[in-house]
Symmetry: D2
Subunit: 351 residues, 4 copies
């Protein structure tokens, strides 16, 4: 089998670079296009992108030039790491051209006919894409970087016990804002207790992801979420301080079991980017921590700790996940793998 | 009037140094004793203490030597910045000797006969001290560093509308752990989602402080608190992410009014360390921030921001206060001023 | 006497804000104009500027609107905190209109007819301005932020012993790049060993400042400088690791005496922003440190420490000075005060 | 061939943990003993050690208990990550018992009969150990963490052109002080311009390492070194700002060639921990940086950048190397591999 040629839209940004890096040695996909905005087009990729990762860029990126964000029939699959402003229409143009667009941008996430998918949680939502009217193409979306860790921690609880309320305070890493993103003058010896649009995403996206597919539509999950989002002086890894009221009274071990036994819906598909275990629970009293736990399973696992009863009701815990790997590039890639495994790439794809 | 001679117990530690610094030019009190543990006794103060503050130590500290933590009849008032282990018995020894002990340690805070006081909030609780059996002496306590900011933000709401539930996540500054305290290896590019004993204090102390004095006893306030405490890479200034359910449904302006009009119970006493306004509300969407707001009113005011409805119930906001000034040394000093103004120093004190 | 009305050019940037703050309560000057680039003109100042300082902006700034950078006859004195790109022509326009321009920009610093002045070091260089052909106006310049601390530490040594070589490695604070300046992704858990143009300034400006005025021209000081400049994760305060070869062999005490006895050339002028002592030497083995020493004398003094012989030749020491106060806004203000005291504002100025 | 059983002395500390981690899957050595100080003896290793690394501890460490630092005939090779205080006599006890001690402690480094070795640079110095009088055992030493990066950068220049003077300013990472090491209160928004004993090591160790072995003794290299050492807020990776005066005038390309072509003395031995290339030169104007370059070749390569002429004489450049991998645990391990390959383990070792 030959690999599927793919392009990255917004390849010069922080998430784009992570995608380029992860695609450098992917077993199914072959990096074939590096697309970015007008001012980068034509430049050698490494001149247009200020390469931010410690690992070396893959060979294709070292020699490639930036192309415009225009469809090319040689790319049946494109990854979008575009800013929301640009993503809205460019992604539609690609979809109309027949490409499968797997996007990390927020633009289309909440559309009724666009799947918003965490592969381990709601792979069945891919079916929503059937409602899209792009000819052969389609748009799939990856959730916001802080949503993903939250949803992964919540999913086993929602399935096992039901959820009534979720309260979350995030301590988010600077890489979530891209590069240059947050000024060092704002984050040395400081906390910024506000992230534009973040709380809205945290309060809405999980309801769609954990919602039920009925008659080709997603019915939002019936619980409430309250979120506060902050920036802290951390490079990578969003910490989530969570409290939940469950639908049933259960002992602590029941929650631990729910997390530990959970493999997600796609364990049997052996997707290349799947973590062996999407969730890890740590018993130490001061974990998870960003620097210690963000790279669990190559940055694809979410780590949970400090489960304890909430004096008001329900349970409290801390969750942590890597915001640019699991929360962006890695999650997007895993979603594309799921789509490929499910046959969404049609005849082009025989894995 | 001559000043009242005072000693600082635990004068070499981080909070002790702040007290020493604040007492260097106090209008009522005169620094007369620097006491610390055995291993420091006899040494010049600045040799025993690794001076941590940017401002120069006061003259008394530059020339003084460390004394043992033993009562001295020349000190009618002593400040305790001792560790809880040492504080428990040493403070009692001083109280029995007839001194008024104003303590920042947690040892005696929750005793039924020990006032736990934020001067603006519950000055009447000083009366509890009458129940102490130390002869002429007494012990008064200042709350935990994160409790104080929380209580200051809650008090006007509790008074005006009643409180039903309080949920708080703290993002605490490293100075809260004293010196050397938290290792730099734990706080560069990291968050530690656990502070020993802190959540317990946050869930209990506010109930006592906001409780009602009846027949010489404090009846705890009748609401519930759930807390999560974390260390973040910040030097000074604890950020509190708070949500409250009030006893009544009120519009946003009512809360703002409650905070803005609140002057606290002691405004008319003109205590030297009183902030002109104990609370400030900032309208900017990304405030309060530790580096910007911790020094409001010399570090004695609490700054609030981001008041908005909670999608689940009640209101959410952010509060910030300086943990080693208002939350420790400054709060302790203010409490001593209150005690002096209320005549607890007896004949020794004619202000 | 009434105050002299002044304007700040580039008032919305990081240095401009410091100037605005310092001018808020100046005994000689009265803030009368807040000028900035086209996109800010007409906006309320606090909307155009993201206010970065913990202290509140002065009243004029709270109510003022941004004006264009165009001369106004009511401002005999203007401060320039413009970027070098903009400064070059705008400053000339103001000078031609008759204003005295005191600039923090690098544009005109190295011109033979432009004084580059550290008031304590080379106030006589103001005479250079006579060679300028702007009618009544003139341009005076303040050195680069890292140059100033270096020159203040070197001046007493140069005067007393002569200098042969100077080697300096800087560990510079992020505020030196303005706002947003350096990305937090570049400065959390990292060092950037390069600052564009900085080493060139460090290797040239001190030679002019420490040069000799002869026949209306400055003859560069006859020693050599080698510099390396780095960014470190610090908000304010540039640390300078310096080694010098002197013109004479002298004992350690001679250097300490030279620094300690030095008051600079303008001590008798009692300029409002003059530090009482421009240099402080600290004996502790681990000082100066940015967080401890940057605010010495309101941020206007340079602190030196760790003087010790260099095993190769000469002496080694560490110097520290506040880069946005002494190194930018405060230094510029002090220079304007010097110019006023020397009568460069002509009839307009009767102090 | 079966693996050689080894023990780690000081296994619970920061460097000890790195050794334990690296030995978890070593092709030649098998971790067989975890030794530490009295207060840890008998405890499960993970209870005695606060595990600091993001990667999981190896199986032996997960199940093992801490042993006392006493020789055991089953360990022909022991690694010492002891503090200098403890190392001095314990290492001798082990050597006398017949073990080969490969030490990261400074205690014996400067002894005339103790090899101080960077394998790529001076493997021939192992011969010094013949002069030791420990029966079958011996002590070999790994240099100080900042020395190693400096020596690796200097060695090719010293060999090719000769060195006359070396000046170095270090910006050192907090992990160099072990755990808890430097307080976060000293390193958030701060620089500490002093590291006890570090400048002395930097000014002496390179002269021994780059010295010549003659008649069984090392003659120190005949150049001078001047060092200044500072702590900066970085987790791992020491940055070195270096200037050198060479023995000959050579063009820039000659230095680059010297670095790039250099493979070190042991390239043909294929030691398991050898980096493929011990030195990398990066052309970007702002490299090397700690976060980007410390993990080059698994943390075993030194990265150099910014080579440019010094205006005073010679050349300036920046070097960076990982202080706890190459500079401590990894360097010590590589040295043990060298010793094994050279037959110093005698009959016990048949690779």
């Amino acid at each position: 089998m030959s690999k599927i040629p793919v392009a990255v839209l917004g390849a010069t940004g922080a998430v784009g670079q992570r995608l380029v890096s992860l695609l450098g040695s992917h077993p199914w996909f072959e990096l074939a296009g590096l697309c970015a905005s007008e001012r980068s087009v034509g430049k050698p990729y490494l001149e247009a992108a200020r390469w931010l990762l410690p690992e070396e860029p893959p060979a294709f990126a070292r020699s490639g030039r930036v192309l415009p964000c225009e469809p090319d029939s040689r790319w049946p699959l494109v990854f979008s790491a575009l800013d929301a402003d640009a993503a809205s229409s460019i992604e539609e143009t690609f979809a109309r051209s027949g490409a499968l667009v797997v996007s990390n941008a927020r633009s289309h996430r909440m559309r009724a006919d666009v799947p918003l998918v965490v592969p381990e949680v709601n792979p069945d939502h891919l079916e929503l894409a059937k409602g899209q009217r792009y000819g052969g193409g389609a748009i799939l979306t990856n959730p916001n970087c802080s949503t993903i860790g939250l949803v992964l921690a919540l999913a086993p609880l929602a399935r096992a016990f039901g959820l009534e309320t979720v309260r979350v305070t995030t301590l988010q890493a600077a890489s979530g804002a891209g590069y240059p993103g947050v000024s060092s003058l704002d984050l040395i010896d400081n906390v910024i207790p506000f992230i534009a649009g973040e709380e809205e995403k945290l309060e809405s996206e999980p309801l769609k992801i954990l919602g039920e597919l009925r008659a080709g539509r997603v019915e939002n999950a019936p619980f409430g979420i309250s979120a506060t989002a902050t920036w802290v002086p951390v490079i990578d890894g969003h910490s989530l301080v969570v409290s939940v009221r469950l639908g049933a009274e259960v002992p602590r071990d029941a929650l631990l079991d729910a997390w530990r036994s959970w493999r997600g819906e796609v364990a049997d598909l052996a997707l290349p980017s799947s973590p062996r275990r999407p969730l890890a629970y740590r018993e130490e009293r001061d974990r998870p921590q960003p620097r210690q736990d963000r790279m669990a399973e190559g940055g694809m696992a979410t780590t949970i700790g400090r489960l304890r009863p909430c004096p008001l009701d329900g349970w409290k815990f801390i969750a942590l996940s890597h915001n640019t790997i699991r929360g962006a590039a890695g999650g997007t890639l895993l979603l594309a793998e799921l789509a490929a495994a499910k046959g969404l790439l049609g005849e082009k794809m025989k894995l």
